[in-house]
Amino acid sequence: MGAPINYRTVLTTCTYCGCGCNFFLEVLDGKVIGTIPCKTSPVNEGKLCIKGWNVHEFVQHEKRLKTPLLRKNGKLEEVSWDEALDFTATRLRQIKESSGPDSIGFLTSAKVTNEENYLLQKFARAAVGTNNIDHCARL
């Protein structure tokens, strides 16, 4: 007998269009392997479109970004999180000090969660001190 398989399903909300369909992501041994539409969802009632049925395919794609990158001598190079975060925070701070808070612009995202959107606009407004925050609502 081999090791028992580890199979789970996790109820979540689709990342594609504004319909907001609900489905279960199928996870086998830590890999997302498929989707099962949620029958009780008030939006999609057990149906999905072609994008929803295949939404698991990009999640663990080999081309995913896996390490922070920093431009050194014109090229993006892999660096540690500490280096990437310190660089970002330091440069933002310097630019705020030299050119003022409104010299910094933020594009938040229609693809990330409410919590993340809330946090980025809080950072822009409370920490940096600018209302220069927008996203692709018009695109």
Partner: protein, 530 residues
Amino acid sequence: MTNSIAEFEGADCIFIIGSNTTVAHPLIATRIYRAKKNGAKIIVADPRRVHISEVADVYVQQKMGTDVALINGIMNVILEAGWHDQAFIDERTEDFEKFRKVVAAFPPEKAAEVCGVSADDIRAIAEIYGRADKASLVYCMGITQHTTGVDNVKSLANLAMLTGNLGKESCGVNPLRGQNNVQGACDMGGLPNVFTAYQPVTSSAAAEKFARAWGVESLSTMVGMTIPAMLEGLEGGTVKAMYVLGENPVVSDPDVNHVKKALEKAELLVVQDIFLTATAELADVVLPGVSFAEKDGTFSNTERRVSRVRQAVTPAGEARQDWWIIQEISRRFGYAMDYASPQAIFDEMTTLTPSYGGMTYERLEGDGLQWPCPTSDHPGTRFLHKDKVARGKGLFHAIAYQPPAEVVDAEYPLWLSTGRVFAHYHTGTMTRNSPTLDAEIEEGFLELSAEDATQLGIADGEWVTLSSRRGSIEVRAMVTKRISVGSVFMPFHFIESCANVVTNPAHDPICKIPELKVCAVRVEKSARTS
């Protein structure tokens, strides 16, 4: 949306204008098919013969950028025939007289001259929509992505108010939001003029409330910059740094050659994303965030429903939670943040956001909740403006037709519109990295009519050069009946044939939306063969 997705099934009439519903919102199209089966009349108006037009009782092909003329023509007929709802107008709206005068001067014959839809078809639409008990309006970016985007939307609001199709079940004005969480990004204050729940940054009361909650002395009460203004600022040197989270403006924005040049001028470009997008390639620092399957949180859909997102797998490689990345940068920047989880962020947000005030993760279990949901015992809201329009009185706007910013001429004789295909999503960051979806449609194409193809000596599948005042691209031709003579269409998902090289960045003066749905182009046979 003023109303809910499920309510479409109960409508007597659904008027779809500027929405490629089957492609862009498939599960809403399903509801429209069911409505049709239940006896609803379906009207579709679109310059391109989109798939949903197959089930239309009336389908009309208005010229690009003439929506105001078409809608004013429809309202003229409704007023003349007396199909308007005078009681609704008297009780719940204001400024009707000014509006009536503009519309009265716009008979269907005059509208027909501008929009190319026959006066008879305009009368047919007016009769179906005007006489329906419950008529629902559905629109998408075919209405909004114009220099007259705000005028177009106000015209649809006029139409709904004129006929009393607001504040009751299965009617309303229903914009289909494109991105999964574009509603949420707006609700959360991801806009330069508002905090969460559209509390204006210019209101000193709102600014004081948020400053207190966030532990800072004061907050800026000056409206910030929109994307086009930031790009101009980069070019002019007033904007020095950009922090881009999960967006790809180098493919998605109009006139991308110009966008790229602007971003290259940034002293600091920070990009946080899940793939190395064309925008990330320009960055000074790239921060790997996580996909929806690797995170907890909430999304708000087009019907204002807030639903849970749940983590299914561990992040790819060293990728980190997006909220953690922002928190760490903030901490190192000198502003302390100490959230233990997305739930902790949500709980803080709800205390500052009246329409989300009654929501908790616990309450979102099951079906989620539709805002406004102001208190912990409020069941959420299926449709808006019940009994009374939210602003007090529904405001009629007198709107006259204005042409698009760029019109065809001898040098650029064809109209171009851009849009989406069923297998792909926006800039393709996710779908083009999904083998099954990418196999469905692997490259971009330019739709043109058989008549135009013959005249230009172009066969189906041949390479053509598409040019506008902004630039040129090479793309394969697709000869089709979907598009009318004199017009061409192409999807914008494909960076190899990037439609946004040619699109026009001219934008609506109020909301700054670019005119992606209409510009003037030239098509020529290309020397390229493969």
